[in-house]
Symmetry: C2
């Protein structure tokens, strides 16, 4: 079976409120699962503060290393919402009013009988050349520029934007993942897993202790994004070896 090129992604969570512990992140797991289901390999996540310098540095570093960079947070109307401007600087693009975004905002605030104030207008500014990422929840869109996809931070909006993102990129790989649950402890099967990982190419094997007050066993996860046959063989091998020692 040939090795298909797997698309990779990294995720940048922008927000002091996660770093201070004030807010519990609710986006990482959702985004990670959606990427996995779509056959995109999430390789790196970071949480950084609302600091222009750090956003710029992070974006510059990551954009070269991964196919997709997703960001959440910092695109609202207040003074600490600096994601769009920082990304403009990172990419050396002008930070300008996007006509389509302006239209979306006008439409939304009319619908909810509210005013499109000067602060809210800020949410229509983004790097020139951006494509909008539709926000079906609260009007103000995210945007895509180069390989960067900029989402809001509020979980319900992240979900809506993630769906739009997956439509935009049209990636659909098949992947294989299966797990084996055993009451044996990790230490009893470690040598089996190690041998399996060495023997079967393109297969990733994870072992996760089941812990409920005290150790209850292990879940072994066998997965491959490119080589289902090898993953299935690895699974059979592990199952057979585990059964030998039970």
């Amino acid at each position: 079976m040939s090795q298909k090129k797997i698309k990779t992604a990294s995720l940048v969570i922008i927000g002091n409120e996660i770093l201070s512990g004030r807010t519990q992140d609710k986006n990482i797991n959702y985004i990670a699962k959606e990427l996995f289901k779509s056959g995109i390999s999430l390789k790196f996540i970071c949480v950084i503060p609302d600091l222009q310098k750090q956003i710029i540095k992070t974006i510059k570093n990551l954009k070269k290393s991964y196919d997709f960079i997703l960001t959440t947070g910092g695109i609202g109307p207040t003074h600490d919402d600096i994601t769009a401007e920082s990304i403009s600087i990172a990419l050396k693009k002008k930070y300008l009013l996007h006509k389509g975004a302006h239209k979306e905002l006008k439409k939304y605030y009319k619908k909810v009988n509210s005013e499109l104030t000067q602060s809210r207008m800020k949410m229509a500014y983004m790097p020139v050349g951006s494509k909008l990422i539709k926000n079906s929840v609260s009007g103000a869109p995210g945007f895509n520029i180069e390989n960067i996809y900029v989402f809001a931070g509020i979980p319900s909006i992240v979900k809506a934007m993630m769906k739009e993102f997956l439509k935009m990129i049209k990636v659909k790989n098949k992947f294989y993942s299966s797990s084996i649950v055993t009451k044996l402890f990790e230490s009893k099967i470690a040598h089996i897993l190690e041998r399996a990982e060495k023997s079967f190419k393109d297969v990733s094997i994870g072992s996760y202790p089941i812990f409920d007050g005290k150790p209850k066993g292990v879940e072994v996860v066998i997965s491959s994004m490119t080589n289902k046959n090898n993953a299935m063989s690895a699974r059979k091998y592990i199952l057979r070896e585990i059964n030998k020692i039970i």
Copy 2:
């Protein structure tokens, strides 16, 4: 009031299972809150895969930039538990059996009537010169070497190790944090917050939309790790200005 030097921290979550979405992280928020309460400023979090090269690179980069580097995950008995060895390489220390850790493991497995297998013995190997971080939950200790503190990944064990860490470092700063909840939208008060942030030194002002299906208002958080007086003045200022427009 003088500017005290605030201690900084970064957190490295090591684990494919978070990146694939298989496991929901339960440690970030706990660690962030504990650090905040202790007056340590958490500046950066990252999630990286169980890959030796990436662990080494991450540790080398971060150790120069922050006072404390905390890591979670990858110190169990299986083939994908490579944190301790990778950190040894990053710091150019030998990766050796720690006598104290060995003793802890013997004691624990005797207590639970289980065997200290060869795989489990792996959990007593760490960079030479490490101090142990006690694990009151399941025996196998974490360790501290230079400014790096290595925890397990299981949340109950992370809690126990975090408590040990705070005892070890004996840092206790006073900090100030207070919030104002208003039904006004962010866009209505953005200019007030911006002015407050510019006027009051060493004060950080965050604004967090309250969103429950639709926008319900804003929580404004005023905090300072070093200058309580300025933070209290900023709070008064914001409250007064908000009351003017209600």
